[in-house]
Symmetry: C2
Subunit: 448 residues, 2 copies
């Protein structure tokens, strides 16, 4: 199958990914629908089982039922397995698709240069899969040990329980899944620097994506060898997280329902934590539903942009936004070429970035309008859930459990489409054969 | 001055436009602040006078005070003069800037072909100004006569009053200004086909922009000679208005607070009227504040897109959206060139369209966040007013009069920026000298 994916014949990589994801989601649904998956008597409602399975596999973290209360230990293990499968799956498959794209471009066009393909194309299939599994397990293991020890000591949980909490939250964080099984969620840990910083670090590392992690491992001390992809993702992560931290902290500083009662180091920690989670971790140490409307708007934007490509992060991806941003900068400065960190941006990428962004905006706006027809909740909160679902961020104002089934079903479709859509769309666009048999005369309409 | 604008030396066309607009706004503000401009005793509050002056000159139509009640006949005449000046000004100046852009492109680059510049550049300055004034006055006169006769007969108003209402609303509609001085607004005319269709026709004709009107006049029966600009604007107007009509009518069909009590022909008329006004007329025959949240979202999108360039319509312009749309289509179909109606789209325009759209989205999102900090109104309604202001559409859910002064001031800035920003930005981008002294090696990040 990996060979097929890399050199598609009958089944393109898109089909492979779709079928694979659907199979995992189906398995998860069946397991979660079993009575032993649910805490207490009876089995879970089918929509809850399906929603949770898709939310876990797409590493979103939106829930219709509380993960800690609704599911048994068996159910929680299933969720964690789905998260790990979904996260690893997207990492390896997206990287494989990148490989296929790079090969296709190398063979079928004149676009191939070492600089272009180094981000995704020089290594072989096996190295990608082994690498992704290795980096996942190593980072998750370190996170799990630190969290488990802390939960057992400072948290006062029994050793076995602390270990399970450590494993669950480390895996959930690195895969940007946002599921939590702590009895009262993460709100009690708003001022706990170890939990907040470890979870944030895991989320941010996971959100970089495998191509970036792979390059950082290979050339940790030679930034000059980093690809444009790596530089865009790293800079984007720093800038977006920093701006988000400043904005969230400033707006929430005095609000009685959120940061008001906290001392100032905790305010800063909480601001940083919430901002980092938009990359698209999905944990929250404050009640997101109580945040200021302005904060929710900014978090919408941050979630929409998301994290790095070919990883567990969602959104249109930092690179896509970065391309649009640097086009803007080039236009404003009157440059004829769009240069990013000393490299010229391929023109074909301009149009791919426009396409991915337009489709994403269209999906979110249309979904929000439909949600507004289905529910009486405030539109900005419905928009927040739609963005969170499409960007697989998983942050929630808390309205999802109470939405009508049709609205939950729409969110479910958004999670699945948001997880696979941009990747499949962008790769399909990139490998497209572009026949150029004739050219029309050129013309320009008036812009603006 | 026209010569200067066409061949700028010391003062670029942007400076000329800005200074000219500021001068007209200032004059309007001073006149509206006079006690005789206000109905009843005392003078208007300075913020109301400034807001109304900017709203009139930018042909937006958002108001902090009711036009019918708050202003005297003198005040209303001032408002109408500001609307006419603003509308004519933007038509002629935008066309002149287009001319300057076309000349600059002709002289300074290899981009000049007859096909490229025919939309804006072949005629001389005098013809543009005379043509814009002529088309405005003719269309407005026809509209005024029809409306005046109808108001005097079916409406039952006294002849002089009917004539004044006819002139005011015809000028207000053609200039897409959205001001109304009818005692109870246009709501009583929701089922009046003459008023609704005449006002819609005036708004839609005005929204096409002078370059389109000029081409339609010169080649009324030879669509093959129409430029890409004209085709985009005409098709866009038809498609957006039709989609808007269907959506608004369907969603509002049974709502008790809006279309529910109406018979079905009136529902259709009201749906068409509301949809047409997003092009950016700004009249409404139903209480916009009572429309379904989903309708407001769709109207946001329609207002954001707006009308044709170099006219009285606002928004990013149909052409800008059309460019993005056809880039999407070309990508989806795997085309190497973006073709629009049998012509190839100039690549430089891709980036201009991205830049204008990104700046517009950024301005609206940022403004909405700030409005959310300043006001407790629901975010989607604040967003509606922000879109309406930036797109100079003038539709309102009714919250603007009650917003705090700082929020009103922000809307005021949005109206001014929305009126001049896209035009000046796009023309500045188009005439920019693009030095190409060296090229970086090409590279592509991962999109999506
Ligand atoms: K997530
Ligand atoms: K208007």
């Amino acid at each position: 199958m990996p060979v097929r994916s890399a050199a598609p014949r009958r089944f393109g990589p898109a089909t492979t990914v779709l079928v694979g994801y659907a199979a995992v989601v189906g398995t998860g649904f069946l397991l979660l629908a079993l009575p032993i998956a649910k805490a207490g008597p009876g089995g879970a409602h089918p929509l809850d089982a399906l929603f949770t399975s898709i939310s876990a596999v797409s590493v979103t973290g939106l829930v219709t039922v509380g993960t800690a209360e609704h599911w048994s230990l068996f159910g929680q293990v299933v969720i964690l397995a789905l998260v790990q499968t979904g996260g690893l799956g997207i990492m390896t498959l997206a990287s494989l698709i990148g490989l296929a794209v790079a090969r296709k471009l190398s063979l079928g066009s004149k676009l191939s240069t070492s600089a272009e393909t180094q981000g995704v194309g020089l290594a072989d299939v096996r190295r990608f899969i082994v690498g992704a599994i290795a980096v996942s397990l190593i980072v998750e293991a370190v996170g799990a040990v630190v969290l488990a020890v802390w939960f057992a000591t400072a948290g006062g949980f029994a050793p076995l329980r602390a270990a399970w909490y450590g494993v669950f939250h480390s895996v959930s964080a690195f895969n940007n899944a946002g599921f939590t099984i702590l009895p009262r969620g993460l709100v009690p840990f708003v001022g706990d620097p170890v939990v907040c910083l470890v979870l944030s670090a895991l989320v941010l590392i996971g959100s970089l994506g495998f191509p970036v992690l792979d390059e950082l491992r290979r050339y940790p001390r030679t930034p000059l060898r980093w690809s444009m992809n790596t530089r865009l993702v790293l800079w984007g992560t720093v800038v977006l997280t920093a701006l988000g931290t400043v904005f969230v902290t400033a707006v929430e500083w005095g609000r009685a329902s959120t940061f008001g009662p906290l001392d100032w180091p905790t305010k800063l920690l909480a601001g940083f934590f919430q901002a980092a989670q938009t990359r698209s971790g999905g944990f929250s140490t404050v009640d997101v539903g109580q945040l200021d409307d302005a904060t929710l708007i900014v978090m919408d934007v941050l979630m929409f942009i998301g994290g790095g490509p070919a990883g567990t992060a969602g959104g249109i991806k930092i690179t896509t936004f970065g391309v649009l941003f640097f086009i803007l900068v080039a236009e404003m400065r009157g440059r004829s070429a769009v240069n990013v960190f000393g490299k010229r941006l391929s023109r074909a990428v301009h149009r791919q970035a426009i396409t991915v962004s337009l489709v994403a905006v269209g999906a979110i706006v249309a979904s929000t309008a439909v949600l507004a027809l289905l529910s009486d909740e405030p539109v900005d909160r419905l928009a927040f859930e739609a963005v969170s679902a499409f960007a697989t961020a998983g942050l929630s104002t808390g309205i999802t459990p109470d939405l009508p089934p049709a609205a939950q079903a729409l969110l479910l479709v958004l999670m699945f489409a948001g997880r696979l859509g941009p990747i499949l769309l962008a790769s399909a666009l990139a490998v497209r054969v572009r026949p150029l048999t004739y050219e029309f005369p050129k013309e320009r309409p008036i812009i603006g």
